[in-house]
């Protein structure tokens, strides 16, 4: 009765508070008040939480509790929901997230009603449990009543802000998705033993057994699930989720501690992994970068080792709170720091931060070393396992021998015993491993970056494909993007930049060359001739603009465009261990040249270039000129619409030069394009109908040879353009100067 009386008083108090707030804050949003409320709730909740030794930890199944299993279940479920609600109400004033409000309104408010209904049993389970006795008016029960009053008031604040009952489909879906992980995170550590019992079949969660491995897999899978579900969300929502997860697990982890632990410092959670449970919420709430990197470099490895070699007894049951608390602690300590960096809540660390972390770790190490030997005078103490043979036992006799080297001295009545060699080695190994972790992290970052970049490019490829399909407007993918262009090479505002270079190798070049033309491409070394040609033939990508051949876009329809090109590079690039015939046939195979066509063309060119005696020998036995001739034959074997030659006459004998020039004339006469770059002005002047000069990546407007001759010889024109004429960039720079 006393309990329900307290409850009624608590609800009346909450209602009075609510009415007062409503009156005072009629036209204000009351944000400061809500924040103050959150702090009050924190204070009351923690005071209540540590004010008793939770007896529910000793109840090993629903049937083993003081009430019927159904009542025990609802009472326990109420505790679980109320804990979740308290954390949500604390976070509510600080985050504007729709999902937070909806969860409070539609999941946790009904949960609170359930809790109220079973509150007597809930409080009883926690404070009295199976110890015998009755729930009398006490400090604990008063604190429960105050907390209930505050929670009720908190709910009022939430409903006051948003009292609509409507949810759209998206919100319902979000609620359904969020509901399960939210509750899983706040699962009290005694939940599994209460629900599934603790005394039945034993599964060893140790020594990499099957069940042990399942726990380890879960520790890897859970952060991945969290990462993929959160990575695209709003940063504030991610932070909210991570704060909720870290705070709620810190609370459940701390369930085994209560006020009497303050007076027994050897029971404090100072184990390295235990510290992570408090550090992680702190760094998230207060954005403490330096402290974060401590947990990032130091806790993660410690937690990993602990998960592989748990320190609970192998007889501990799978559902026991000991195991649940251990895995809550270590899996969180293991994955949270990594997850926080992956979700970009903290930037990737720098070497300097690792050094700071190692200094802090050394400080921690020395502290626990001293605390261990000091507290051991009162009770066996082994923070971080540096004061017992727990680890050396696993390593063998040699390690035990090292551990057994001890120094002991007395200060007053207190005995201080250290294991200096073991402890020094422990520190050195741990620091060494932290360095190794740096390389593991770096590798991880580089893999993550590479996958991110790949994803980005995959998206671009997809978009390009859609753009091509749109441009084709229902026509087949093998059709040219531009219809009925005839034989034509077109550069539209083509620009090329190498890698992350600021300067363009070619900038905004536009050009049209039509079938039947021999087109000369002139320019000094490094002007951009080869760059342009290599982009046309597909060796290099296009940074801006487009290039098309007979209507086929070189970038979007590369295979179709390349079928029309024959290319002779500036330095022969051949498979020297093939014979010339094998090589030319190989190229013909790639272009799908029929047997009849090659029987007609290959002998013709072989005879033209006088290669009859050498054609069936390995190319490595050829002279430079012979190799160049093979390259030319390979470029012409499929009768390309566009024959591109990059400085093709270098190294050829006069007879061969003549033959190549004849080939060019004949090829153009068939209605094809011949385009070549050269430094031999006379050849260009005699052979070409049109020419263009390129200088420092700028392509000057092409002229016919007749137009050139109006200004003088080609040589004079070339010198004028290549040396004296200024590019637009040069003009602009001059104007600015």
């Amino acid at each position: 009765m006393t309990h329900y009386l307290s409850l009624i008083i608590a609800l009346i108090t909450a209602s009075a508070g609510a009415l007062t707030t409503s009156f005072l804050a009629r036209n204000k949003n009351f944000s400061l008040g809500k924040k103050i409320f959150a702090f009050v709730l924190i204070a009351v909740f923690f005071t209540r939480y540590i004010s008793y030794d939770d007896q529910i930890l000793n109840i090993v199944s629903l049937g083993a509790g003081p009430f019927s299993p159904a009542v025990n279940f609802f009472a326990y479920f109420g505790i679980w929901l109320e804990l979740t609600l308290v954390v949500f109400l604390i976070l509510y004033p600080f985050f504007k997230a729709r999902i937070l409000t909806n969860l409070i309104k539609f999941v946790l408010t009904p949960g609170f009603v359930l809790y109220l209904g079973f509150s007597y049993y809930s409080v009883f389970l926690q404070v009295i449990g199976n110890t015998g006795g009755t729930l009398a008016l006490s400090f604990q029960s008063v604190m429960f009543a105050v907390e209930i009053a505050l929670v009720a008031y908190g709910l009022f604040l939430v409903w006051r802000d948003d009292h609509t009952l409507k949810l759209d489909k998206k919100e319902i879906l979000a609620l359904l998705i969020a509901f399960v992980p939210v509750l899983v995170a706040s699962l009290p550590i005694y939940g599994p033993q209460l629900m599934f019992g603790n005394a039945n079949a034993r599964y060893e969660v140790i020594d990499i057994s099957f069940v042990h491995r399942l726990f380890i897999y879960a520790t890897v899978i859970i952060p991945l699930v969290l990462y993929f579900s959160l990575k695209k969300k709003d940063p504030e929502l991610i932070r909210l989720a991570m704060i909720y997860l870290s705070v709620v697990t810190m609370i459940t982890f701390s369930r085994v501690f209560y006020y009497q632990n303050f007076f027994a410092p050897w029971t404090w959670p100072i184990h390295l992994c235990n510290t992570a449970m408090y550090i992680i919420p702190l760094v998230l709430i207060f954005k403490l970068d330096k402290l974060f990197y401590f947990t990032y470099f130091i806790n993660v490895f410690g937690a990993l080792m602990a998960m592989l070699m748990p320190n609970y007894a192998e007889t501990t049951n799978l559902t026991s709170w000991v195991i649940i608390q251990f895995w809550y602690n270590h899996s969180l300590a293991f994955f949270m720091p990594l997850l926080l960096v992956a979700l970009k809540l903290f930037p990737r660390p720098k070497m300097k931060q690792m050094y700071y972390s190692l200094i802090a770790f050394s400080g921690y190490f020395l502290l626990v070393m001293v605390l261990n030997v000091w507290f051991s005078n009162y009770s066996p103490t082994d923070f971080f396992f540096i004061n017992s043979d727990f680890i050396v036992d696993k390593l063998g006799r040699w390690a035990e021998n090292i551990f057994n080297i001890a120094i002991s001295f007395n200060i007053g009545d207190l005995v201080f015993e250290f294991h200096p060699v073991y402890q020094a080695l422990f520190l050195i190994v741990y620091v060494g491993v932290s360095f190794a972790m740096w390389f593991v992290y770096s590798l991880g970052f580089s893999i993550a970056d590479s996958l991110g970049d790949l994803r980005f490019r995959q998206k671009k490829i997809k978009l390009d494909k859609y753009a091509l399909l749109a441009a084709l407007n229902g026509r087949g993918i093998d059709e040219p993007m531009e219809e009925n262009t005839g034989v034509k090479l077109e550069l539209k505002n083509f620009s090329k930049r190498y890698g992350k270079n600021k300067d363009f190798a070619v900038k905004d070049a536009s050009l049209v060359v039509s079938g039947g033309e021999i087109f000369g491409f002139l320019g000094p070394n490094g002007a951009g001739k080869s760059t342009t040609i290599k982009s046309i033939v597909g060796i290099q990508t296009i940074t801006e603009g487009s290039i098309s051949i007979c209507g086929y876009d070189v970038e979007k329809q590369p295979v179709m465009a390349k079928r029309l090109i024959g290319y002779v590079p500036d330095h022969y690039a051949l498979y020297e261990k093939l014979t010339a015939r094998e090589y030319v046939n190989y190229i013909a195979d790639i272009y799908g040249v029929t047997y009849e066509e090659r029987q007609m063309r290959i002998p013709h060119y072989v005879s033209l270039f006088h290669l009859e005696d050498a054609f069936d020998n390995q190319i490595k036995t050829f002279s430079h000129g012979m190799k160049q001739k093979v390259t030319i034959i390979a470029a012409l074997v499929h009768e390309p619409k566009l024959w591109l030659l990059d400085e093709p006459l270098t190294g050829l004998d006069p007879d061969s030069i003549y033959q190549v020039k004849e080939c060019m004339r004949q090829h153009a006469a068939k209605g094809n394009i011949v385009m070549f770059s050269s430094h031999i002005i006379d050849v260009v002047e005699n052979l070409c109908q049109r020419i263009a000069v390129i200088k420092k990546g700028h392509l000057f407007a092409p002229l016919t040879i007749d137009e050139v001759h109006e200004q003088g010889t080609l040589e004079e024109y070339y010198l004028k353009m290549a040396i004296h004429e200024e590019t637009p960039e040069q003009k602009a720079t001059k104007e600015i100067a």
Binding site: Q458, G499, H571, V584, N585, D589, A614, K620
Partner: protein, 558 residues
Amino acid sequence: MNDIKTLIMMQLKDKLDLGFIKDKAQLIRKIVFFALRFIIVASLSYALFYVSSFLRIFHNSPFIPTSIMTMLLTIILVISTFASTNDLIKSLYMAEDNQVLVTYPISANRIFLSKIIVFYLYEIYKNFTFTLPIFVAYGLISPVNWFFYIWVFLSFFVVSMIPVVLGVVLSLPGFFIMRFFNRFRVLKILFFIAVLAGFIYLLVRIILLIPSEINVLNYWGPIKVLLSDVTMFFQDYFKPVYYVVLMVVGKYNAAMRYTYLNLDVWLVFISLIGVLAGLFMAAYFVARFLFIKMTSASFEYEKRFRVKALLNRRLPAFLSFVVKELRLIFRSGTFTSNFIATYISIPLFILLINRIFASMDLYPNGQFAVQAFNILIIMLPLLASNSVVATMYSREGRTAYMKRTKPVVVIFPLLAKLLPNIVLSIVSLCVSLYIFNAHMHYVLSNIILLSIALIFIQVGHILFSALLDLMNPQNEQYATAGEQVSNPNETKATIFAFITAFLVALITLGFLVEEQFMPDQSFNYAFLKMLLIGFVFFGASVYMYIEKIKAYYYDRIS
């Protein structure tokens, strides 16, 4: 003398990459690494000597007889002499730098001499990093006096001369044999196949000689006699090497100590120097004429044009890629050596270790460890050999760029390049697993599952290695420096190979050990799980290979 010194320094810089000398930090690092290497080899040797001394393997007392050192030094000298001969043939008579060196105002004799000195210095470097630490370890375990630790260093300046001088002598006939084989390629191939087949046959016969039951304790007497016979064989039939060992460590006296106060030791020393000097002078006066002749010969490949024209042939594009790759690899030596070193030796190794283990009585966990070890022995060299794949595309130099100009989906020619390695390694893997199962007797379905799993891992690693090359191409380096490229992709692929091989062996062991407690002991789940892991690895590799080529291939400029 200055000109010889300059020539030597120039060539040494090329051979040993001496750039670190000017950089203090690098110099210290090199010295530290050198010392570390020395210590590691010496420690390992000492450990082996200690074990054999402790178990009295070679002697009835803790003493390690000199015959052991004779055997070791013989093997080392034979290998070094072969290597030196081969390298000297290339360096003296076929090196392209001869064309440049002869243009300097130095006599050809001096160039010739400088080349030999460079080889000698390189041999000293090799001996100081490998052979010398073994001798130091021998000194530590044997009753030697303090003078040994000074003398052993000095004596190795003489010992290092042996393979170089023998190499100079042998390089003359070697050169003519090599030229003969280059002229008659069919004979070369036939000779090569005959030697290889003979070697494999011999090896298999030796392996099959291993008794079907080995009980070391019961048969220890005969085994010890056999070991003694083997080591004494070297001492008796390689007397000159035995005397060299005497010269290095001294002679065992009545007081059970090695001493240098013995005429034999110093006679050997003086004779060795005399013989080496004589041999060298003889070889020098003959070989330098050939050297001078070769430096003035044309370096263009000999043109032996085929007069009769062959026919043109048409093939489907993908088949054409494959045929081209086959032609290229079978016309190059790199692939052949890789092929022999890996694909043939793995089944032989598997046969050897299984013969040994089959004759031992093992506990169940020991059996599983042996099986995991088998997997390691198969996967380690197989995956490590894929480091060649990590250089394959780049080795094409600038020719590779032409692929981008062709109207094909670029994955096909790229994949065709890997096909010979994929096919041959799968054959090697299957043969190895067949031998493995002949000893392990798993049901056919299980061995098929294991084979597919390992094939997935092997092919996955080939694709991974190839991708390393595509993502960080070294074409320009290969185009300018030929084969002398320190390729980072090769290192990465090797490291990954080691990690993968060890993981695969470890996982196999874990699965097998775990499965032994299953009621039916069929090991189906263990092999199914292996298959699953292999499939995931393979799937990820294929996905990354295809997607990264699509996304990056045309953007990667070396």
